[in-house]
Amino acid sequence: MAKPSQPAVKPGDDAQERRNFFTKVAAVVIGGFVALIPAATGLAVFLDPLRKKSKAGEMLPIAPLGAVPDDGIPRQFPVVAEHVDAWTQSKQPIGAVYIRRLPGQEKPECLSATCPHAGCFVAYDKPTDTFKCPCHNSSFAVDGAIIEPSPSPRAMDSLESEIVGGEILVKYENFYTGKAEKIVKL
């Protein structure tokens, strides 16, 4: 016949209770510590992308000036850059822009092809001379101004450009979508 189980601590046994209290504290501290180290390490690595900055923002050569006639019609160009993607680096298209020149003007106007609403690729619609987003129906005038009513909170994102040695350079940047303000993704 099995013996009835005895309580681990006899009531009133203060020394035993004190010992058990320290045992509990030690178990929690050591158990917490052994769990904390891998968890904290994992968390640090998980949060690592917050340290990463976008390489966008450099002046990049897009096209020779002659490729954009001064007829006011926007032309689409890929943005090709040395792109670092984690462990690889290669020269490749990283996005696209629309560039146009107004009649008689040398200075080009440059717009990002990314819709400021949710990030789809905006298409230029020649018959209506407007930009239309194929996703949520945002429309923009040829100069990028918002055509109301539109789900987009702001106009298309204009990009800084300059001409150097007959070549159009554009400061290609990504911006947060869905914001009324143009905020650069860093």
């Binding site: 996005g95 996703c135 979508t177």
Partner: protein, 703 residues
């Protein structure tokens, strides 16, 4: 056997476990309405099994994700079926979830004491939707890439933490390797592990509280095994049958269109490319309602997206979580049933609206806009023009606006369908190239498309050449030629240098027409005069020999067999060209003639010749001062300041020549078609052009 089971039971208590698992009491007997939970467990089990098998092949990186999925789909025995089952079972799970949720709410199975289990169920639903969302990106194809860009951009609108959260999900500032590794870790690790954990709790609580049944029970109680298990098994079989049917549906969709590859199992789009416009981006069908919902916030500015993507969906989910508490009131249960019916009806309506908006051009008669089109072209949406055109008549203006809106909806749908079609062409081409002899390079399949004349040629042509030239095939019989032809100021380059093109070019009736020199200064030039005055007097057979010889110079892939067959006539034609009284009076041809007066005919239409012509038409080999407005696209040998780089010019030249990789079966078809067309070729006096319905010799080779 019994001894073995006894031994195992004494050590594990397996008999009690099995008894508990199989002999749960089912009050009122087994019923079909109880099967949904089991079908969901079955669906998840299928996803785990197929997911593990896919995992053995899948490689999450920007250069290997699409490539490894392509390998699974097209190079692995049964890979298409495995992927198809995984793909369609994921969709089945969403439907089963909706049915399970409805059943639980209608039956009141969320009320005390089952509140916690209901909440666990809602968490499981979120996890399943999370699995769908993360899985959509993993093939790294265009549709997954662009849909995920939208989804992750929406995270960015969350106040305060949005941008940081977005960066954590994307794995950095830009989309790339780490977006895939993170989504894969979520899809194959964190979410399924969480799902298993919550599922164990869900089933444990379900067992604790038992099935919720109506009193009094209609039938006698039974046990889970075998009655309910049989019903569950039949339901699972039905789910599997539907999924398998979807995988093999091409078997039931009639004869495939010629040249269109049949897709078994799940589709695979073209590889993701951030620089390539993709106008067919849509989320999976079960997220279409959210996609459509966002469109309702036109004019709301920044708050619209926050409301449409975060606040309202979050509030709806919050309401679902509150259902057990609401259900405590007398009318609470009815309110909950009403709420779920309204929610599902809303989801159904928005899904239908999204589909209708995208596909309405398929069932809309374009003819109804025929009379309206010229007015729309003139007025568009311009307030002033509209007001002036209708002399301020409010009723007519309102009618015009209505018609304009209807047309705009049609046009948008038509553009979407064209974008879908173009995306399919691109995806088939990517698969075709990946299956080619050179396979996929280390830089990834996206470079296959970036270097493919068939895909890049038309784009480059549209951007750099189409403001002057056309590339129009002959219209089908009875159809009018394209109005673009009359507007063009330079030749139609469709079939450039092939026999049909040159037959038309050397015809007195056509050389000064819209397909050739009609829009150029050469319409009044010496060549037109020579063709009209001199060549028209030649024996037709001699003209044909010149056409064959000149066309053979181009060494067009589609004409290789025909050129080999007609070598004798080609030789005779070469002699005619080289004769100093004929072409070499002005042109150079091999050793005969001099450069300077007219384009060099040596190697006419070859890749090298075309690259030279596009690079600098003012070069002494081509038109020199007689060049009519054609820009030099690559005048500088060092490449600086050129309008086009050498790679792009090469792609245009290859595309114009029809020189691109073809699968073996198509190659054989091209040769047969070219031979047949050559045998049926009309005499030179009656050349096929796109103003007269006739197909050029190499038409089957072109897409």
């Amino acid at each position: 056997m019994k001894a073995l089971v006894d031994w195992l039971d004494s050590r594990t208590g397996i008999r009690d476990l099995m008894h508990e698992a199989l002999y749960e009491r089912i009050p009122g007997g087994a019923r079909w309405r109880y099967v949904w939970g089991s079908t969901l467990v079955f669906a998840f089990t299928v996803q785990v099994i197929t997911g593990f098998a896919l995992w053995m092949y899948y490689s999450p990186s920007a250069q290997t994700a699409w490539e490894s999925v392509y390998y699974i789909q097209y190079q692995t025995a049964g890979g298409w079926l495995l992927r198809g089952i995984h793909h369609f079972m994921a969709q089945a799970m969403v439907i089963l979830l909706a049915l399970h949720l409805m059943q639980v709410i209608i039956d009141g199975a969320y009320r005390a004491p089952r509140e916690v289990n209901f909440w666990l169920g809602l968490i499981l639903m979120q996890i399943v939707l999370g699995l769908s969302l993360t899985g959509y990106l993993l093939p790294w194809d265009q549709k997954g890439y662009w849909a995920t860009r939208v989804a992750t951009n929406l995270i960015g609108v969350v106040p305060l933490v949005g941008p940081a959260l977005q960066q954590l999900v994307v794995g950095g500032a830009d989309y790339g390797h780490h977006t895939l590794t993170r989504f894969f870790a979520l899809h194959a690790g964190i979410l399924p592990a969480s799902l298993v954990g919550f599922l164990v709790l869900h089933i444990a609580l379900f067992r604790k509280h038992g099935i919720r049944y109506k009193l009094p029970p209609k039938f006698a109680d039974t046990s889970f095994w075998p009655d309910q298990v049989l019903k569950d098994a039949v339901a699972c079989l039905a789910v599997l049958a539907v999924v398998l049917f979807l995988c093999i549906r091409p078997m039931f969709s009639g004869e495939p269109e010629p040249g269109v590859p049949v897709t078994w199992g799940a589709e695979l789009g073209a590889p993701a490319d951030p620089s390539n416009q993709y106008s067919a981006a849509r989320p999976e069908w079960y997220f279409l309602f959210l996609f459509q919902f966002l469109k309702l916030f036109e004019g709301w500015g920044e708050s619209g997206e926050l409301l449409g993507a975060i606040v309202i969906p979050g509030a709806v989910m919050g309401l679902l979580f509150l259902m057990p508490l609401i259900g405590k009131w007398n009318l609470g249960h009815r309110f909950n049933i009403g709420l779920i019916v309204i929610l599902l009806a809303g989801v159904g309506y928005l899904t239908f609206a999204a589909i209708n908006e995208d596909y309405q051009a398929r069932w809309t008669d374009h003819g109804q806009f025929a009379e309206l089109l010229p007015v729309i072209e003139e007025l568009g949406n311009d307030e002033e023009k509209i007001h002036s055109h209708f002399a301020g008549d409010a009723a007519r203006i309102a009618e015009y606006r209505e018609q304009y809106q209807a047309y705009e909806h049609y046009r948008k749908s038509d553009e979407y369908l064209k974008a879908v079609e173009a995306a399919e062409v691109e995806s088939h081409r990517a698969i075709e190239l990946a299956s080619g002899p050179e396979m996929i390079p280390l830089t990834g399949a996206v470079t296959l498309l970036r270097n493919d004349p068939l895909i890049q040629g038309p784009r480059l042509f549209a951007q750099h050449c189409a403001s002057c030239h056309t590339h129009l095939p002959p219209p089908v019989e009875g159809a009018e030629p394209s109005p673009l032809l009359a507007k063009a100021s330079a030749p139609n380059l469709y079939g450039f240098a092939d026999r049909a093109w040159l037959t038309g070019f050397l015809s007195a009736d056509h050389i000064a027409g819209p397909n050739y020199f009609g829009g150029t200064a050469h319409a009044e030039g010496e060549m037109v005069g020579y063709v009209k005055d001199t060549l028209s007097g030649w024996e037709p057979d001699d003209v044909r020999k010149v056409v064959l010889a000149l066309s053979a110079e181009a060494k067009l892939p589609a004409q290789a067999a025909a050129d080999a067959k007609d070598s004798a006539e080609i030789e005779a034609g070469r002699a005619l060209i080289a004769n100093e009284e004929n072409c070499t009076m002005c042109h150079k041809f091999g050793d005969a003639g001099e450069l300077g007066a007219a384009p060099d005919l040596t190697g006419y239409g070859t890749r090298e010749w075309l690259i030279g012509m596009i690079s600098n038409p003012m070069h002494e080999r081509f038109y020199r001062d007689a060049n009519d407005r054609m820009p030099a696209f690559a005048e500088n040998e060092n490449g600086e300041g050129n309008l086009l780089d050498a790679h792009s010019i090469g792609l245009i030249a290859d595309w114009l020549r029809g020189d691109w990789l073809r699968p073996a079966r198509e190659e054989a078809a091209v040769e047969v078609a070219a031979e047949k067309a050559d045998a049926d070729a009309p005499p030179p006096a009656d050349p096929p052009t796109n103003t007269e319905a006739a197909a050029p010799a190499a038409a089957p080779a072109k897409k």
